[in-house]
């Protein structure tokens, strides 16, 4: 029996683990986005695949380059870079040139994630920083290339139309199913919802953030008189389920998450109704990302305290 030369693994307890690893979580989120991406390809054509590949490539390249330069261990396999690329593609128009997502996700990974210290240390959601970067540097491609479903024709998004004083696109079913102009990941509320529910079911995310984001946006859009329209358009659902719930940039305690989500919803509504952009969820989330450390500090777990002990 016991081989005398054998050496045994030594470490303190616990010696078992339960639940998913970081890697499994990242790949599950990626997988849950697949239906929405496939739908985008169905509605806007095969170039969605090219743009998706481009976004993922840029993200992987950015992460690989920084780890190489800083002589760090590369963590490409954990799926977080792939996910950032995929999320960024989900927020941009299908009419952009094929290299644009790569440029955006490269900048997102390098500046918003790796320079902050890599996975876990970034303050702002990298995919949204990527989008903000693209909107600032390539405004024409980012804001005027929206396409009508099943045609290559340029067509304004419902929110664009509204902003320019046009008529409301009010076939709610088409909005819900995703038969409208819009970003690649966001058009089908149904599929985003399904993907999001998979994440909830797998206990990857909790409903506090998505529900409060949508509630906040609904509350503000009551002022427009068209709350349902606002609920079904833009990137609200994509942002609520996939962007605002990003672990690293969202607070941890339920109460903080509710406040975080509700503020995102309110800011989104305010930007939509009175701001300069037709859609505001991207900036709403980025603004609240900045508040996350404070929310984490204000809402900490409470525990019984003995006299004289610091808490």
């Amino acid at each position: 029996m016991a081989d005398e030369k054998a050496t045994w693994m030594l470490s303190p307890g616990p010696h078992l683990r339960i639940g998913m690893t970081t890697r499994q979580i990242m790949w599950w989120v990626t997988a849950s986005l697949t239906p929405a991406t496939l739908w985008a390809a169905f509605v806007f054509g095969w170039k969605v695949f090219v743009l998706t590949a481009s976004g993922i490539f840029g993200a992987l390249l950015g992460e690989w380059m920084v780890t190489k330069l800083r002589k760090q261990e590369n963590r490409l396999g954990d799926g977080s870079a792939v996910l950032t690329g995929l999320l960024l593609v989900g927020t941009i128009s299908p009419g952009v040139p094929f290299w644009l997502p790569a440029a955006g996700s490269f900048m997102a990974i390098v500046f918003a994630k790796m320079l902050f210290g890599g996975l876990g240390y970034n303050i702002f959601n990298p995919a949204l920083i990527g989008r903000a970067f693209l909107t600032a540097t390539f405004p024409v491609a980012m804001t005027t290339t929206w396409q009508a479903p099943f045609t290559a024709l340029t067509h304004a998004t419902p929110l664009n139309t509204l902003k320019l004083g046009g008529e409301l696109f009010s076939n709610y079913w088409n909005l819900f199913l995703g038969l409208r102009a819009g970003s690649m990941g966001e058009v089908s509320v149904l599929l985003i919802l399904l993907g999001g529910l998979v994440l909830v079911f797998k206990k990857i995310i909790r409903l506090y953030i998505p529900v409060s984001v949508i509630a906040g946006c609904f509350a503000v859009s009551l002022f427009s008189g068209e709350p349902v329209f606002h609920l079904l358009t833009g990137g609200l659902w994509f942002g609520a389920f996939y962007m605002a719930t990003d672990y690293v940039t969202a607070p941890m305690m339920p109460k903080a998450q509710m406040i975080f989500g509700f503020c995102i919803g309110i800011l989104t509504g305010i930007i939509r109704l009175w701001g300069g952009y037709p859609e505001g969820i991207c900036y709403a989330i980025l603004i609240m990302n900045a508040v996350t450390p404070a929310l984490n500090h204000w809402f900490r777990p409470k525990r019984p305290v003995t006299e004289g002990a610091p808490s």
């Binding site: 969202a250 941890m252 900490r300």
Partner: protein, 450 residues
Amino acid sequence: MNFYKMGKTFLRGGIHMRNDGKSRTSGKPIERFVPKEVTVPLAQHLGPACIATVKRKDKVIRGDRIGEAPEGGVPIHAPVSGVVKRVALQPHPILVEAEAVVIETDSTVADPVWEETSDWKNLSKEEMILRIRSAGIVGLGGATFPTYRKLQLPPGVSVDTLIINGAECEPYLTSDHRLMLEKPNEVIQGALLLGKILEVQKILIGIEDNKPDVIEILKKFSSVEIGVCNTRYPQGSEKQLIEALTGRVVPPRKLPMHVGVMVQNVATAAACFEAISLRKPLLDRIITLSGSGIVDPKNLLVPIGTLVSDLIECCGGIYKDTVKVVAGGPMMGRALGRLDVPIIKGTGGLIFLRGREARSEIYGPCISCGSCLDACPLGLEPNQISIFTEAGRALETEMYGTKECFECGCCAAVCPAERPLVQFIQMSKMAFQTGTALGLAVRPGVTHGR
């Protein structure tokens, strides 16, 4: 927040394992195993170690005293009859190396039988405590605090409730389960005696609802109350069990007696019964050998001092890809570096883990998922403690609860980044003791390839 259907439980945190590995051994009756040789360490419990009273070539009979304890400790007895081979430094499961008495078993000598003493039902409190001390009984749940000291309440403190801890919340372990199933009378009698010593009004036996067979049997005893708890780790932790069964919360850095409760393990209770009624010392213990690495998992009743390697042989050996051997439960047990160490009074199990079953040694950065905050039964912040400690700022972690942590391991078990959170907390506790914080130079995760 998790919601549970029935049963009692503590209020926050904790984890539930769908597959707790108990089914491997829960149906296996306790078997007796006596090795050819035992190594009985003189330091087996909290408090001062014993001084050997035997020397080489001395003949000993099972039950003889072989180590005398200074005040505050308990004596140690020969668990087998035979000849003392040597009294020397031997490998120790916790202290690495410590003085021990090695006894070669003489199987021709019949085991002595302990007769029931005539007076045990009428003993005074002090006499009972004395018998518990001379029997060498310590907390068998793993803490190994001398039981006689726990029973001596400081002046002015009284307890009204005695909780007998049969929760056995550690995954894989079934030794307490089998004990309650096979020797319910000893457990109950022991509980009643302990209750008499403490002059309590109420005796509760805390059991997790994954042991319905035990609950059924113990219900027949009307003298004690059964507290059925949810199967939820760490239900068997003193403070959590008290909260579940009585609703009383023991404040940080206070003892259960400060809220009028005392908790004793079921095996301790059974040992106390034998000590008081038969004057039988603590010689054996029930141990679960389990995990996917062992060929034939078993519950064994073995003499204290049996070597791990002998136990492995008794269970048909281990599979080649076993990477880790844990003494105790898989959540709070210690990984063993070698197999020629003896089991001691506090060893409740030996778990053999194969590659995929054992936790990874490689960990990633904290992704702020908050899982550890949900899992911590005390409401501490292991994430913050780990980040500060990693950055060499361990001395700033007190506000996150470093000193209150009892290292149940829930946080690290659920951490998706597989961060060794308990080890980070241990490091910061050490930093508080020494007054200096260790930085990144000392990173947790010692791997020994095999």
